[in-house]
Symmetry: C2
Subunit: 445 residues, 2 copies
């Protein structure tokens, strides 16, 4: 059994008291934290217990691993394939035709590539919605990362709709709570405009049966809201409320275009919002009213969305964007302060995927999911306030060590469970085939 001691670091616990421990120490036994507190000296018997590894993290900051609350990992294969286009041109001429050609093998390599990128940028858990979920689960298992998987459910074709639910049930049977507890499953109704009310009813019934939460896209674009008002005389949020969706635990991605009544509903119903600032900006969806959501007490977490619309899975960038754009748009420099933005990526992330009993904080009994960040760099000097540096100045290459479920998956930026070159080779090959040979190998050796 692993028994890792990390010592001499400053620890942002994100526990209920928001404790920050200087000269801190963490011991992980098996997959969980057994001690967290001040560095203990050798007079303390408990501190002398044998450790398989001692990491001296002097000069580093320790945080819970980031939780990417909304992504589509395999779409990393479409990173940079099509940019700066109107939404429908992008979808109809680029993304959908390429997705039509998708196979399980693509999803496997695309997910491995994403896991590699996410671990290298400090993400220890991601919340996904996509297809070929068996292949995604295999990749997640191999990579060492933690994930919540939802098979995307689209009701536009009756057979495919039924197949989606069948595959979700198979996914639950085979993979829920698997990989040492690293994998969980949710139900993934894609969006109100792709799931008619009767299909949503079926999905809710199944979610109720399995007692599993739901992951859905809501109010992403102005067009979606206008269409919903026309069809149902209700906003997407009001529509979902009227169908009873929010009687179940729901994480709603985006929530960019919200009325005051929508915000009241999200707050009253404890719907968690996964905010995706990078993707919302790049696709020109708009800027979500995050300060108003926070004021209303809504749980707001952060997601990258897919690398097709981001174009990376770097949570530090989403943290920074969340802390910057709402200030600029509201003309108020006090909204979404640095610590709050970090919290959205840690504790609030865990709450939004209904896993707050095990991850998102560093405390005894919680899973050993954490990152070590080196702040001894020119762009992080001088050191006045570590939280401000992480949010406003650091970049993901400052993250040196990542531990997930008690396993060291990256140390000094070296990945432990995956072959980086092999994954990049296969991902490039699959991407080339999917995009009709347009992928550009010119500058790749």
């Amino acid at each position: 059994m692993n028994n890792i001691k990390i010592t001499n670091c400053r620890i942002f616990t994100f526990n209920e008291e928001n404790e920050i421990i200087d000269q801190g120490e963490i011991v992980i036994q098996g997959d969980s934290i057994s001690y967290i507190g001040k560095v203990r000296d050798n007079h303390d018997a408990a501190a002398r217990e044998s450790c398989t590894r001692v990491i001296d993290a002097g000069g580093q900051v320790c945080l819970p691993g980031f939780i990417n609350a909304h992504t589509h990992a395999p779409m990393t294969l479409f990173r940079g394939y099509a940019d700066d286009l109107p939404l429908m041109t992008w979808l109809e001429t680029k993304i959908w035709p390429a997705e039509e050609r998708l196979k399980g093998e693509d999803v496997y390599w695309g997910t491995l590539l994403s896991c590699l990128e996410m671990i290298k940028s400090g993400t220890t858990t991601f919340n996904d919605m996509y297809f070929f979920m068996e292949d995604m689960a295999k990749a997640v298992t191999e990579s060492g990362i933690r994930a919540v998987l939802s098979r995307g459910l689209i009701g536009l074709d009756e057979n495919k709709a039924a197949l989606g639910l069948e595959e979700t049930e198979e996914l639950i049977a085979r993979w829920h709570q698997s990989a040492g507890g690293r994998i969980r499953v949710m139900f993934g109704p894609h969006a109100p405009y792709t799931c008619q009310p009767d299909y949503l009813e079926k999905i809710m019934k199944k979610a109720d049966h399995y007692k599993l939460p739901l992951h859905i896209h809501l109010a992403e674009t102005r067009f979606e809201v206008e269409q919903s008002l026309e069809l149902y005389q209700m906003t997407p949020i009001e529509h979902m409320e009227s169908l009873g969706l929010f009687e179940y635990p729901v994480v709603a991605a985006h929530c960019v275009h919200l009325s005051p009544n929508d915000i009241e509903i999200l707050s009253r119903r404890n719907v968690a919002v996964a905010h995706n600032p990078g993707s919302n900006l790049k696709l020109a969806s708009g800027v979500a009213p995050v300060p108003r959501l926070l004021e209303a007490g809504v749980t707001v977490s952060l997601g990258t969305d897919s690398a097709a619309s981001n174009n990376n899975l770097d949570m530090l960038e989403e943290i920074r964007l969340a802390a910057l754009i709402h200030k600029g748009v509201s003309l108020d420099p006090t909204v979404v302060p640095a610590y709050k933005a970090l919290e959205m990526a840690c504790r609030e992330g865990a709450k939004s995927i209904f896993w707050e009993d095990e991850i998102g904080m560093l405390k005894p009994g919680y899973k050993g999911d954490l990152i070590l960040m080196n702040l001894h760099k020119p762009h992080l000097c001088p050191l006045h306030d570590p939280a401000a540096h992480i949010v406003y100045a650091a970049n993901s290459s400052d993250i040196e060590t990542v531990i997930i479920n008690g396993e060291i998956v990256m140390e000094n930026r070296e990945i432990k469970n995956m072959d980086e070159e092999k994954i990049m080779y296969h991902a490039q090959k699959q991407a080339l085939a999917l995009t009709g040979g347009i992928a550009d190998e010119g500058a790749v050796d």
Copy 2:
């Protein structure tokens, strides 16, 4: 004399034809580019000329170095010292009291720290406005970077106003065109609200005498515009136009709050705008109307502003923000496409500091200012479109080699002319003294 050959890279020239060369080669002789084109084989006599260094840049992309068109380098000492505060609280209780204590030694170490950070993130030229400019010029000389220096001119106190002009003239005499041509000087009237019309007249007269351009802050906040309308019944831009400022070459930082008439003036008068998206968001100044400026044909470059309001000097972040926020705010995904954002940091940057005859493009006769970026990374895989990757997915640690004025100042991320540890040590020490011992050394070894 240096004679460096860089071979096997993809070159973004940013020349007038926006040429992109696959399998390209660049030769630098002394401080300037002597050849740029396809890789030549050894049958070509010119290619066999002796080189002091050959860099095989296989798998890398070569770009002109980034030009940071607006910053205050020494303020890096205040990085993370005060964040998330209302503008006047931030200035009055934090930044101004600390600046009151500033000495030449602080400016020297603060500038060295900034040069270190800028070179490590691919900036080869910066345009600065600050005080103790002798000390800044010394640091610039030592670091190997290229810079345009303006002594900040504030007219609120008559003696200080006169001293500012005197010091500018001394700066010109001692430092203009020094350091192998790497240093140039401009006049730096701080802003309309700190320089009364009669002081601006004096500054313009001097600028005319020395035939040097001017660097000024304009229309940064809504408050500034309101105050100008009240005092002069003119916007800051109209006010400057009425005083004749725009008859001289001017680079105006910020330009966030602009009327249609302001944009027309900037366009007609060829005023260059240095856009600072990160700082404008963080200080909640707002979002500059960049798409409208570009439509009007205004030269728009990018700046970081100081690390006190950014909180880093990473031009890749400004490039990304410029490409993202205007899409999100205008709800149009086609504005500021990837290549345009890069151009703003390269060729448009050079134009905005009136140095477009020597830098900002890669072509024969131009200065050897360039960067090599490694795109063979998980977060940049697969490779469909290198420009999109640089703008939307890369981070500054992907920049491996930096050449300025024909000198290799960083190679494989190793800095050549500066001692990183020594600079960080002194910067931390000076910062501690300036901020009254509040600087936090807890997590620094």
